[in-house]
Subunit: 288 residues, 4 copies
């Protein structure tokens, strides 16, 4: 196998479409001796908006990470772009929120232990103590913040303080059964990833398997999306489905859905951590 490069950079970039964007940006890298490892671009025609992801090898690149960002800023400004460059040695710092269902948490921790996720999982927050043993098994600190309607505002403040103290930049809701307040969500725009156990926009809200069972659908789904202030309405990152039949009881739906939730959330998390997702409006461009 080819050895992995030691240090890479990944640019996510979007701006109004115009001629010469690829040329200018790839030239910027070429001039500085950057070797492009991966490049994806897309133009949303209705909105004439350009999206780009470039990953390059920093070996032999003539600029340091810091200098790279400084050098790129004027170019990005010229194109009125929204952009970020992340270097592979800047690992994301992730917090996972859970309630009582452990399957998504276990899946994430197991995959992380195999090296599938390029992040540090710094801590786990829950409104229940139930999954503490699972967290311990993987030696991840586990904090319990019980939530009632009365204490919610207060508890969220404590959670935010904890997250800031640990420089968390990515939050995964792994079947966290609380709705986060707008004050919380606005602190992490497009950085909170949720798994909803239905094929959105079907079966928004609570008990989607029950809703699906009662409607008599022949397929159930799961959807991973960024959290916004509209419940289950945020930009969708990934979805998948599984067939069911009249033979499946509600319990069977829950069991089959469990497998789906695990896989869909894991895929979305991986796409996010590899900087493959760009959000525009309420939609995503996913460069797989």
């Amino acid at each position: 196998m080819t050895p992995k490069p030691e240090l890479t950079a990944t640019l996510l970039f979007s701006c109004p479409d115009q001629k010469g964007l690829v040329s200018r940006i790839s030239h910027f890298l070429f001039e500085r001796n950057g070797n492009i490892l991966d490049l994806d671009e897309h133009v949303v025609q209705e909105e004439k908006r350009f999206f780009l992801r470039i990953c390059w090898d920093m070996k032999d690149f003539t600029l340091s990470p810091q200098a790279t960002i400084e050098a790129f800023t004027p170019l990005a400004k010229e194109f009125s772009a929204t952009w970020q460059i992340r270097f592979s040695n800047q690992r994301r710092r992730t917090a996972i929120f859970v309630s009582k269902h452990g399957h998504c948490l276990q899946e994430l921790l197991w995959r992380h232990s195999l090296g599938e996720f390029d992040t540090e999982i710094v801590l786990i927050i829950s409104n229940h103590p139930d999954l503490h043993p699972l967290a311990e098994r993987y030696s991840i600190p586990y904090y319990v913040f019980p939530i009632t309607p009365d204490t919610k505002v207060e508890q969220e403040k404590k959670e935010l303080a904890l997250l800031q103290q640990h420089n968390i930049d990515t939050i995964i809701l792994a079947r966290y059964m609380q709705v986060l307040s707008p004050q919380f969500v606005e602190k992490y725009p497009n950085q909170i990833i949720n798994i909803h156990h239905s094929f959105l926009p079907a079966f928004v809200g609570s008990n989607p398997y029950k809703q699906a069972y009662e409607r008599g659908v022949k397929i159930v789904g799961a959807t991973s999306h960024y959290v916004t202030n509209e419940l289950d309405e945020g930009p969708i990152i990934e979805q998948d489905i599984v067939r069911i039949s009249h033979r499946d009881s509600l319990d069977d739906l829950i069991r089959k859905g469990r497998d789906l939730e695990r896989l869909v959330l894991a895929r979305a998390v991986r796409l996010h951590l590899e900087d493959r997702v760009l959000v525009y409006g309420n939609k995503t461009v996913v460069f797989e």
Copy 2:
């Protein structure tokens, strides 16, 4: 290959669950020298309701079709069953309703020509003349009933008269873009099969691909269901999906969806024509 039996009978049967149902019914057939070719049963536990489909060979059966029904009636009454027995020489008589999109109609006519559907396709009704040439190619009579809000009641009456005159018992809405009135629907309970171009219950109503495109889903679907008076709310027979990405324009969704609609409708029609679908409440038991 094994030769197909000349004459078969198919019983669809549902009743409150109780002990001895399979024994009594299979004994009924055994006594009369019937050879069971296929048997499926299911009990919906919450409702304690029993569903059965039995298909048997009429060769060597000691009763004629007419006598079979007479002999079975008291047994069915004893169990307070909803039931039907159809013999393979009683081909269903089908009408297809279309508007301007020809892909579903073409798929149905082509499959019919290959012998996939055990029915006579008696006639095609449309509110537009556009698909007349396609109907002609397969030598099926094509009737045009233009519909406006003002003429709808009148035209539906004419359509119903035509259907009755031709002893139609099955209606397929192959992208028919009109909503049938309750007066029409009640004449054909669980006999009108529709294809909706979304993964119901997501994207009810018009322009589902546009709705899907704007929501930014990663999967689109199609749903075939029996028509009831609630728009797109009838019992679902079959669903399927196809993955999409940000690269797919609205036109691509329509193109990919076209393939899905064809297949999902064809599968639902086949299931219905083979007497594999039992309706209860707003759900179906599909014995595949």
Copy 3:
């Protein structure tokens, strides 16, 4: 939800097809006051062979388990049937064989802890010590039998002795990288379940992902089957696939395949443990 019956019986039955089989068998149960919970039958037409699975509630049944088997034996003999009746309080006793890859083992143990598998997992056997900690986490005894070409015969004898001592009746090869000898396999006919990491019969043998990568396929698969003396040729229980593209490296195939192996093996194990699989020749009837 409906409460689960306390004690149930499941009959798996196959014999040359003839009239009256369902009637005779269902009558046998009805006479003894058995309530059928689930019934599936199938006839393989080319071979005129009949397959049946019936599950019934033992509550109110007039015979004890022992007496049930005695009473059923003459009926089965009359039809020259191959059959078994298992009662829900006779839990299967399972051994899992592993080498160094832990993902399948972890999946099985986790699902077992959730109650998805109706068996006791009695012990784990490996030719390597690597997965001992995982076994310990679930408190399952873990035995290491290192295998070399020279010691294989000897070691298999010890393994067999251990299995017999613990009354093992089901063996799962969860990525066990050794080929079992014919002497071993014949002790457990259709009781050893393997997972092969390809879409059989494509890519038999070792390194199937490498074979798939080099062939340039657009889909990879996994296959769970019963072990016979022909390598990767046993009766297939379950298969599934995942799409890949030119973007996927061999490492990506291995990663994506890992998810597939876990799910396919888990489904096959569940089907086997619920007595849903009947083998004939080199094929299976799977009553889902």
Copy 4:
């Protein structure tokens, strides 16, 4: 919707990987006022080979098509590239080969009539007269060249003459049941698209459904690939699968497979016609 550009160009390009490739090529276009509509690149790491597809709008481009190719040639030479530029007004000229099964031909002709394929379908060649009526319906000339072992060499020569006379550049084998000779195949390298009715490399050769049925697989597939001199071994463009069960007879496999063949071949043809497929060795890069 955004209006489609009047004239576009598509470059397919591959060469040994090196720094600056994207920059140099995108700069070439930018200098000449080309607006990039779509760009995809990929590097096969093991072979250090670079693959690129760029599609750009020729409106405002400063060079004519002819001049574009002249200007690009030195650049391509410098990189030792394999390449082609095709302009959207140079429609491919396609011949379809068939035997007696009409489903793939009908699918292709129907999709072509909807505008899904950017090609002229110039003629149809068959070794049997059966599908002449279908060809007539779409007004495509249909030529019959009966093939026997004795006449094969002779007939292929006549076919080749016909193809050359009509400037055919793309050949689709839509269930053509003859193996083309090496002399034939070498005239159209990576320009002959075949559909094989199995999940290659499983079930090479004749009667794959029968092979699949006898092996007892739970999934059947279809594979579209470029034809080479190794039977069913050419570079794979597209594959897909459908689930089957013990309930499916060989006839059912053939019926379900028919749907699959149609879709898989249609997808592969579309990918080829849109210049989305690059071949290297026996594999493909498919820029979807």
